[in-house]
């Protein structure tokens, strides 16, 4: 009897699904398409290494590297986001758009490799004064 009452109630209440092309509202933390920020990427390739569905492909060259992403293969697991220490990858907080042609959402970026900036040299420790040598200028006696 409860089932029948529930069905009748559902029949006259608003549906919880929406008709295409409308998209349902998303909550915070929603896993949408992976977004790439070329300015932050260091080209480590960790995202491609962690991508089990092979949606992210990383090709490394001497002067540049190519990062490509195919949403059709993506399972939206967010392992790439978790593994990106530079914070170059984020996920869009909206439903992925509908596309009609295969590979329509596929994206690729070629980023020139930046010369790594040498780390700041720490000040060399003062060499111990050997017996019989003259002390360095300014050294306290």
């Amino acid at each position: 009897m409860n089932t029948l009452l529930l069905l009748i109630k559902n029949l006259f209440s608003r549906p919880v699904t929406v008709r295409f092309p409308a998209a349902p509202p998303v909550r915070s933390g929603y896993r949408g398409l992976v977004e790439y920020d070329a300015t932050k990427c260091t080209g480590c390739g960790m995202c491609a290494f962690r991508c089990t569905s092979r949606a992210i492909v990383f090709r490394s060259g001497k002067t540049d590297f190519k990062w490509s992403y195919d949403p059709a293969q993506c399972t939206f697991c967010a392992r790439c986001i978790d593994g990106c220490e530079a914070g170059a990858l984020t996920m869009a907080a909206e439903c992925p758009p509908v596309y009609l042609a295969a590979g329509a959402l596929k994206r690729a970026y070629v980023t020139p490799r930046q010369r790594p900036t040498p780390p700041a040299q720490p000040a060399a420790p003062a060499a111990p004064a050997l017996p019989g040598t003259a002390p360095a200028p300014g050294e306290a006696k």
Binding site: T3, L7, N10, S13, P15, V16, T17, V18, R19
Partner: protein
């Protein structure tokens, strides 16, 4: 003179098969009923359901795909079943007396029952022809279920027909409804869930267990024909009940409208049952129908004895 009458009768039969209430009327009606059932079940499950034109779009999309290549005799046989199913279901719809004084002949109810059963038999044969294990399981289930519900279905119709001394559908449509008829109609409605593969008797195409059942190996235009045959089955089966329930009266345009309204109400009723129930196992389904069969066999027997003047 005889030739003219024969020509007129054959033209009339052809018009009924192809135009009204045959294919030209029945195909849009079938799509409408399929949409109505899907929409009603969706709304009862708080989903928005398909748009109105969805069954038509599905049909066009499937028809636009390439015909599957099947080699040898088994392939030809496999392609033959959906055509036979559509032809049988369309023939069954063509026999329905939607318009008053639409003709018919003595014993056309028997032909209607035979044609109505053909799509189910084609489905069983198609499943075995495709040699898929899922299709074969579906076919076995469909065959067992078909035997189970047909006992009730036929006995209910025999009891109605015997109470009116006629196996002519139009005679049944024009006669007044008696309590015995309402019992028979209730029994037929119970059988329609099995005949139309709806819950709780949808085990022959249990998608979570055996994919599409007997239709697992079908695709493209052949699958479109199966869908069309199923839609026409909807029209024929619910139309038969509507014929028994809705009397013919008023101007000529009123009976077709009442007919469509009646089948829509029957579809809503079946959708309600489908949404409210879960799929039964094969042994439970058979047990359910065999218990019903006993009750209605007794009613049919009493009815037949009454007509024979033995009571």
């Amino acid at each position: 003179m005889t030739q003219t009458i024969a020509l007129s009768a054959s033209t009339d039969a052809l018009l009924r098969l192809l135009v009204f209430p045959g294919l030209l009327f029945a195909v849009p009606c079938a799509w409408f009923l399929v949409w109505l059932e899907r929409k009603a079940v969706a709304r009862m499950q708080q989903r928005i359901g398909p748009p109105f034109m969805q069954p038509f779009y599905d049909f066009v999309k499937l028809m636009s795909k390439a015909w599957p290549r099947r080699e040898g005799l088994s392939g030809a046989i496999m392609s033959f079943w959906p055509l036979l199913a559509v032809a049988s279901a369309a023939g069954a719809v063509g026999l329905l007396p939607v318009l008053p004084n639409s003709g018919g002949f003595a014993g056309d109810l028997i032909l209607l029952l035979a044609l109505l059963e053909m799509p189910s038999m084609c489905l069983v044969a198609a499943g075995f022809s495709s040699r898929s294990v899922f299709a074969e399981i579906g076919s076995v289930r469909e065959a067992i279920l078909s035997v189970s519900y047909n006992v009730v279905f036929l006995l209910a119709l025999v009891s109605i027909a015997a109470s009116q001394h006629s196996f002519r559908i139009e005679a049944l449509a024009q006669s007044s409804a008696s309590p015995l008829r309402w019992l028979g109609v209730a029994a037929i409605l119970v059988c329609l869930s099995g005949k139309l593969h709806l819950n709780p008797f949808s085990l022959s195409n249990a998608e979570q267990e055996i994919y599409a059942g007997p239709l697992t190996e079908y695709m493209g235009p052949e699958l479109a024909l199966w869908e069309l045959a199923h839609g026409l089955e909807w029209v024929a089966a619910t139309g038969l009940v509507a014929t028994l329930v809705v009397p013919h009266f008023g101007p000529a345009w009123l009976p077709p409208l009442l007919f469509v309204a009646a089948i829509a109400i029957i579809v809503l009723l079946l959708a309600f049952v489908a949404a409210a129930t879960a799929r039964l196992a094969i042994d439970t389904s058979v047990r359910f129908y065999s218990r019903c069969a006993l009750v209605f066999a007794a009613i049919a027997l009493v009815s037949a004895l009454w007509i024979g003047g033995k009571l």
